[in-house]
């Protein structure tokens, strides 16, 4: 099981969560503590199978399964490129156990054209940015 981060992903830890920002995709994602552990391992190029095996105390295979599911979530967000996820088939609802790595939330960060700051409307609210006409 291998993964490498997409380029241009900034990240920080805050209060036990790890927050990732990818402006190429206008995306911010937060992962829980086990997810942050795996993210750091990805950043460091560590052995993901070994790290995954530590997620569950007595069931390393379960840890690897959970890690595979988590990496599939990250790959779905475009944050990593993963391979060797033999057990990735399940990309449905994440396991909610405390030791299970998972994405907690994601936010779409507005681009300039979409941002309300430019004209007071987002595309979903109707109307294009008429910035040059507002005078």
């Amino acid at each position: 099981m291998k993964a490498k981060p997409a380029t241009q992903v900034a990240w920080r830890e805050i209060d036990g969560e790890t927050v990732l920002v990818d402006l190429a995709r206008n995306l911010m994602v937060a992962v829980n503590r086990p997810g942050g552990l795996l993210w750091r391992a990805i950043q460091e190029g560590a052995d993901l199978d070994a790290v995954a095996g530590t997620l569950t105390a007595d069931a390393p295979a379960e840890g690897r399964r959970l890690a595979g599911s988590f990496l599939a979530q990250l790959e779905g967000c475009g944050l990593v490129e993963a391979e060797g996820l033999a057990e990735r088939a399940d990309t449905g609802p994440a396991d909610t156990a405390e030791h299970a790595p998972r994405v907690l939330w994601r936010e779409d960060l507005s681009s300039f054209v979409q941002q309300a700051a430019s004209c007071g409307r987002r595309p979903s609210q109707g109307g294009q940015c008429q910035i040059f006409k507002r005078f």
Partner: protein, 240 residues
Amino acid sequence: MRGAIPASFPAFATERSPRWRVDIGGAKVDLDAAALEAPVVQVAGGSFRLVGMGVTAEVNLGERRAHLAIPPSPHALAVVLRHLLPVAVEDGLVFHAALLAGGDRAWLCCGPSGAGKSTLARLLPAHARCDEMAAARFVGGEWHGEALPFWRSRPGRVPLHAVYLLRHGECHRRRRVDPRLALRQLSEHVLWPTGSPAATDRALGLLCDMVEQVPVFDLEFLPRPDVLEVLAGNTDEAAA
């Protein structure tokens, strides 16, 4: 090119020696077509380049020199600044927010269009510094709110006392938001720097620091001037 200078800019004029040299030239564009172009920003090796919306900007961040080709519209400079400021301001963040202040305390009031930023500024004109975009800067070991010259604004930098996430309500009430939730909710009000991974990384770090160091509140409010009592922290709630 007089038409290219927004009405709000002269209020920010200063007698201090300029720190930037900016050469401005005209550009003939179809404004209707230009309004639909998404600007493309490139940042590399200390230079910033923006093309789009009828504007071309070449900026040398290290030498603080810029050359702009812009149409005679007061919003053209705003297009440049909105993309340049998040990259060039290394000690802070730019927010879609109103900035209000009382004495030595500033309150950054964030929210999407319709949340009440301009309403607050109209209710409290003596306290309003700007109602569109403001900066939060970490200077001298503390956070400050700083007005930016967009739409209706007047200059000033004041210690930042609180950040508010605005929404309309049936009373005035503020509730403290924990840093993790504050980070999530504030992220959509930040003007994130584009074209520079280093600037993005810096911005994320600053936002994480800010939510841990400056209290963030959810604020629901009525369009009444006594909301000032809640903004100032004199009370957390006032009935309708």
